[in-house]
């Protein structure tokens, strides 16, 4: 196929996807300045922490970690939406993935940048951060995080970028402003068969490579907690538990993003109810899996009846954290299972409610893991408490603003739905899928030969 026909089809069918880039207006400017303002306000509040020290936060003696670490785990968890889901769907040749993968990958890159920055906010001496390079200990779980998050960020950026090259080239060929920028990023793409083959092969390698990296990231984050001896943290199940939670919250975030972007950029033609239906079933499965892990985790603690474990256990179930604990159970299990199990409620508004509940619930889960274990020290000191200060709330708002800002900026410069993959779906995949389906079925000519059946 030569380049000219492809562009004409784009002009014809999918030009709508380029509208936010080529006709960006006041909406973009207003939204991005508003979000920048929130982010700036967060940083201004954070300035107090830099000036006076960590004392301006709500952290204290037993509870030495709070919102920053909770949000670190939470945001990195969300990042599993993307790359992992898009990689798994690509790998399993799920044809319905085509309009979804790009958004999923953007979530990963944006959220990873936010989450990865959180431990720096948590440092008492951010000015000494470079000590990690000069005198780091690779034996510390914190350094496992540094290396695996860096690897994940690099891999998921590449995994976002490579499948975007043909779309960038399309923008270049249309002469879209800033032209030099698209020319630079298009890397000389002409759409020749050989380039396509290279691209396919690279995407193929990346999607396989990215899955173990993504899993390692949240496993290693759970190890920060699991490698200590603290009650409620020192658990072998933590690695898979965190990964499951991460994918769970990731799918929920992806659904929220899809529903919002569908509304804002009028993507109803691309994101159809069937996409939401498939993804929400995946969310339902993850909800059940999450419940299974949570149940196993808490039952072992309860049945073992170790005094230090029980102190943490009851702190969550009936103590000061009861509201957060049962809120988490409701948000992560009761609400999504209640809504998504039935076709009547598995509508787009229903999915929106369930997804938001899961995002909130997974944030509560991170809070339930980090704080109660710290608040109940092993020695019989009084139970600690944690009330986040203005700085923590400010940076939380800033983090969410950055997330939205990331999407606003991305949508301004790149198509949110992969145009060439949609076209590929139209032009090649139907035949390919039919052929594949036929491959699953018993061979027709054996029957025609008729020897075993006839006799």
């Amino acid at each position: 196929m030569n380049t000219a026909t492809r562009h004409e089809t784009a002009e014809f069918g999918d030009a709508q996807l380029l509208a936010p880039i080529e006709q960006s207006g006041a909406g973009f400017r207003v939204a991005s300045s508003l979000l920048l303002l929130i982010l700036l306000a967060g940083w201004v509040v954070f300035g107090r922490q830099l000036l006076y020290g960590m004392g301006v936060t709500g952290l204290n003696q037993p509870v030495v970690w709070g919102f920053y670490i909770v949000n670190f785990v939470f945001f990195i968890g969300i990042s599993h939406a993307g790359t992992l889901i898009s990689a798994i769907l690509r790998l399993s040749k799920a044809e319905w993935r085509r309009p979804i993968t790009r958004m999923a990958e953007v979530i990963t890159v944006v959220v990873l940048a936010i989450g990865g920055f959180h431990p720096v906010l948590d440092l008492g001496r951010p000015d000494r951060m470079l000590n990690i390079f000069t005198s780091g200990r690779l034996q510390s779980p914190l350094l496992w995080d540094v290396s695996s998050i860096t690897a994940y960020f690099m891999a998921s950026t590449v995994y976002l970028y490579i499948p975007m090259i043909p779309d960038i080239a399309l923008l270049r060929d249309r002469g879209t402003w800033p032209h030099w920028f698209y020319t630079f990023l298009a890397w000389g793409w002409r759409g020749t068969p050989r380039q396509r083959k290279i691209l396919d092969r690279a995407v193929g390698i990346m999607m396989v490579l990215v899955i173990p990296i993504a899993i390692s990231v949240h496993t290693v984050i759970s190890y920060i907690f699991a490698m200590t001896l603290q009650p409620g943290w020192h658990s072998t199940i933590f690695g898979p538990y965190f990964v499951v939670g991460a994918i769970f919250s990731g799918i929920a975030a992806l659904l929220v993003v899809m529903i919002v972007l569908r509304r804002v950029y009028h993507l109803e033609r691309y994101l159809k109810p069937v996409h939401f239906d498939h993804l929400s079933k995946l969310l339902l499965v993850m909800s059940l899996l999450w419940f299974y892990f949570t149940f196993s985790e808490y039952l072992t603690a309860f049945f073992g009846n170790e005094p230090t474990e029980m102190r943490v256990f009851f702190h969550k179930l009936t103590g000061p954290y009861a509201l957060f604990f049962w809120g988490m159970v409701a948000c992560n299990f009761l609400v999504p299972v209640g809504i998504l199990s039935f076709r009547r409620t598995r509508t787009i508004p229903g999915i929106m409610v369930a997804s938001i509940a899961v995002v909130v619930g997974m944030w509560l889960e991170r809070l339930n893991i980090v704080v109660p274990s710290l608040a109940n020290p092993r020695l019989p000191y009084p139970t600690g408490f944690y009330v986040p200060g203005l700085v923590e709330w400010g940076m939380f708002a800033g983090g969410i603003a950055t997330f939205i800002l990331g999407f606003v900026l991305f949508a301004r410069f790149f198509p949110l739905v992969s145009i060439w993959e949609i076209q590929e779906g139209r032009e090649h995949s139907i035949a390919e899928t039919v052929e594949r389906l036929e491959g699953y079925l018993p061979d027709a000519d054996v029957k025609e030969a008729g020897a075993p059946a006839g006799s």
Partner: protein, 227 residues
Amino acid sequence: MSRWGMVIDLDRCTGCGNCMAACHQENNLAAAGAEETGRGRAFHWLRLLPEVSEGPDGTRLRYLPQPCFQCDDPPCVRVCPVHATYLSEEGIVGQVYSRCIGCRYCMAACPYGAKVFNWYEPRWEGDSRKRANPDVSLRPKGVVEKCTFCHHRIIRAREESRARDRELQDGDVVPACAESCPARAIVFGDLDDPESRVSRASRSPRAFRLHDDLGTQPKVFYLAETE
């Protein structure tokens, strides 16, 4: 090479808190103040662990003086990302204030909660900073600090004995907490010397360590109360 350890005799301890106050003076700990203490930021290298027990004659409250246990297998050292906390050859868990990045992972990992963090730049009441102990460095904001077993006193004692041209003897090194204890409940010395007082006391049938089951091998022993 010595392996420093401590034995605290609970039969002698009255829970007066002198050790805590002496530790503050000796090691230049700035007072956190009432407000900060109320926010859970009391600042001690040696704390009094409250222990409530129900006996036949009603509820009883007593205090265990708790310094850093200077574990032989310290969980805090394992997790430090920058070599800012380490186990010295003499078995003391040290903290390098100038290298610590303040991530507080060691505090989260310590099962005994023995470490403290400088939430603010230390505040000095009046001219108290001028009266600071010159042997102990002042800490900046944002770093973790901890009991050193009065490491500076060990250095001084060693230098003094070298000046007198003799070996370091049992009882030469006395940390501030032990020195200030009116009941002489705290014994300090070399655990590797089988004849030292601390070594003999640690082998007493009354001796126990807190949460020995964790395998951290603390070098602070308690002598259980006799009735």
